[in-house]
């Protein structure tokens, strides 16, 4: 059933831009897809039992890497984007070894400070990064004549984001279903037990952190060319917090949770926009309702309803 549902979903997403009235809604759709990948890749790190808050910092690294490669070194976007992902992953790998030795909340805190260091470095290193103002006028991706796209409209970016999202989700799904995903769950549930049976827990945690940071690196590159600018605090603390919310509210147990959470919570503020000043309260209310009443997250709602129904039938 799941493959056919996914197929229907992909077809719907392919025709969606034809139905959306105006570039603004296409923009929201693009943001939704980016948030889905960010939340899903955050969950991969989370699988190892470590809650990273470095996603904003990683996205900043990816965005600057690509912008600089294209603007200063004359690279094509299509080369710069994967390089951005890989160099972000490399940085994650290097800092990952000391970081993952910290347990629980201390790991989360060190990743927050890591992001702050990234922001401050971008602000300070004026000759390279343009300081607090950032880099403007980043060129659009080179046209792909084979597909007849030149990225002059948002719809072209929409399809690029769609392709990126599908590939990312496929990779993340494959990793989770592989032996790696199984070991990561083992590490999450019983760190010292996994180590006692000969699993290199540190290595696996670093692996999850590295792979999970590759995706914000790529998306940062995409985003800087999409909005044609990048500045140091574009992906600051609150940005990372939102990704974390998408993941936890959607439900971190299953693969589908962060996808659902990111989709609902990115679109929700748009739907509740007529409420003006009350709009953030709708968001917060949904957040609180889920935490209090559906501890497993939104993805756990059907399961909970089924259980409630079964309970009623039994009684």
């Amino acid at each position: 059933m799941i493959p056919s549902l996914a197929g229907i979903g992909i077809v719907c997403l392919c025709v969606l831009p034809l139905l959306l009235s105006g570039p603004y809604y296409v923009h929201v759709a693009i943001l939704t897809m980016l948030n889905i990948v960010l939340a899903s890749s955050l969950r991969l790190i989370n699988l190892s039992g470590q809650m990273s808050l470095a996603h904003g910092g990683m996205m900043t690294i990816g965005a600057y890497t690509s912008a600089l490669l294209v603007m200063k070194a004359g690279f094509s976007f299509w080369v710069a984007m994967p390089i951005s992902g890989l160099s972000t992953a490399l940085i994650a790998y290097v800092v990952g070894y000391p970081f993952v030795r910290l347990k629980g909340i201390y790991f989360s805190i060190v990743t927050i400070f890591f992001s702050e260091v990234v922001v401050l470095t971008a602000q300070q290193w004026q000759s390279l990064t343009g300081g607090s103002a950032g880099i403007f006028g980043i060129s659009r991706p080179d046209p792909l004549s084979f597909f007849h796209v030149d990225f002059s409209s948002k719809v072209d970016f929409y399809y690029l984001a769609l392709v990126l999202m599908l590939i990312s989700l496929l990779i993340l799904y494959a990793v989770e279903k592989s032996r790696i995903g199984m070991v990561l769950r083992g590490v999450q549930q019983a760190d010292s037990l996994a180590e006692s049976v000969g699993i290199d827990t540190t290595g696996y945690k670093v692996l999850a952190f590295t792979v999970g940071s590759f995706f914000p690196g790529v998306l940062g590159a995409f985003y800087s060319h999409y909005i044609s600018a990048v500045n140091p605090d574009a992906f600051a603390f609150l940005f990372t917090i939102y990704i974390l919310i998408y993941m936890t509210v959607g439900g971190e147990k299953g693969f589908f949770g962060p996808i659902l959470g990111a989709a609902v919570l990115t679109v929700l503020p748009e739907v509740s926009r007529p409420l003006k000043a009350f709009e953030p309260f709708v968001f917060a209310a949904v957040l609180i309702a889920v935490i209090f009443f559906v501890p497993e997250g939104m993805a756990g709602i059907p399961h909970m309803l089924r259980r409630a129904k079964k309970g009623a039938a039994d009684a």
Binding site: S108, L120, A284, I288
Partner: protein
């Protein structure tokens, strides 16, 4: 840099230290006693600042009276939050974390709706300077240092001398053991929230006498508060004091010597190093 300029920035640093220590003490109390990460602590501090602003600038009240009123109001608000939002998730760090994130959004937007997004300022009665050994010291900053010291002494005596204070210490060390000894964790948690939020309110009120305040001022306070706690070790009051003094001096003196960004970088990089090489901080214990 001349001696006068240096002593001036040292004093600025000490005033910042006072603010950081007040924020960090509240945060470490709440975190170690309730076993949760309260990331909305910065917003509590922001509400403290706005309460003082309301009493001083809108009602035209006395500044010190406003600080006291704000402390009581925000402290009681903290007790309410403990009961409604945190008690159900005590000791379950991940869900309490999400609740406090929701609180960040709610509190920021409530203040934004009530007071608007423009930065606000209010005046403090402590204008002018005192001359001490030929160095001009701003009254405002001196008062912060003195009030910080006073509250610190008060908190220290409270924890040392009262049964409630001793119970707080016990619970922060071993929650289940303390409960087995018959300590009322609900009541102690509420007390910790009252004290922690009250201290944050004092910090917010005094920062408003130095800089302008805005609904988003809390994340800065949270970062600094966490940094101080990491430096000093979670749950350690002497650690928070030492950490606060160090970070305050770094933030007060370094920007005068180099740029604010480099000063910030040095601070955060040092804290990352400390986390990696001495995770228990300066005053914290193993664990």
């Amino acid at each position: 840099m001349s001696t006068a300029a240096l002593s001036q920035s040292v004093l600025n640093g000490l005033a910042l230290s006072g603010i950081y220590i007040l924020i960090a003490l509240g945060l470490t109390l709440v975190m170690s006693i309730m076993g949760i990460v309260q990331v909305a602590h910065g917003e509590i501090y922001m509400i403290g600042a706005y309460s003082v602003y309301y009493v001083v600038a809108v009602l035209g009240g006395n500044f010190l009276l406003a600080i006291v009123a704000s402390t009581l109001f925000v402290g009681s608000f903290g007790v309410l939050l403990e009961r409604l939002c945190f008690r159900p998730f005590r000791g379950r760090a991940d869900r309490a974390f999400t609740v406090s994130i929701a609180l960040i959004l709610i509190l920021q937007n409530v203040v934004l709706a009530l007071a608007g997004g423009n930065p606000r300022t209010f005046s403090s009665p402590f204008a002018g300077v005192v001359r001490l050994l030929g160095i001009a010291i701003s009254w405002k900053r001196l008062v912060i240092v003195l009030v910080g010291l006073g509250l610190l002494l008060g908190l220290f005596l409270f924890i040392k001398l009262t049964r409630t204070g001793q119970a707080m210490l016990a619970i922060s060390q071993e929650r289940e053991g303390a409960a087995l000894q018959g300590m009322n964790i609900d009541r102690i948690s509420a007390t910790a929230m009252f004290l922690g939020c009250g201290l944050a309110a004092v910090a917010g009120g005094f920062i408003g006498s130095l800089f302008s305040i805005s609904p988003t001022m809390g994340s800065f306070a949270l970062m600094k508060g966490i940094a101080v706690i990491i430096l000093g070790g979670l749950g350690s009051i002497p650690g928070a004091v030492v950490g606060g003094v160090i970070l305050g001096l770094v933030d007060g003196v370094l920007p005068a010597l180099t740029t604010t960004h480099i000063a910030g970088l040095v601070g955060f990089a040092a804290i990352i190093m400390i986390l990696i090489f001495r995770p228990q901080g300066i005053g914290g214990h193993e664990g």
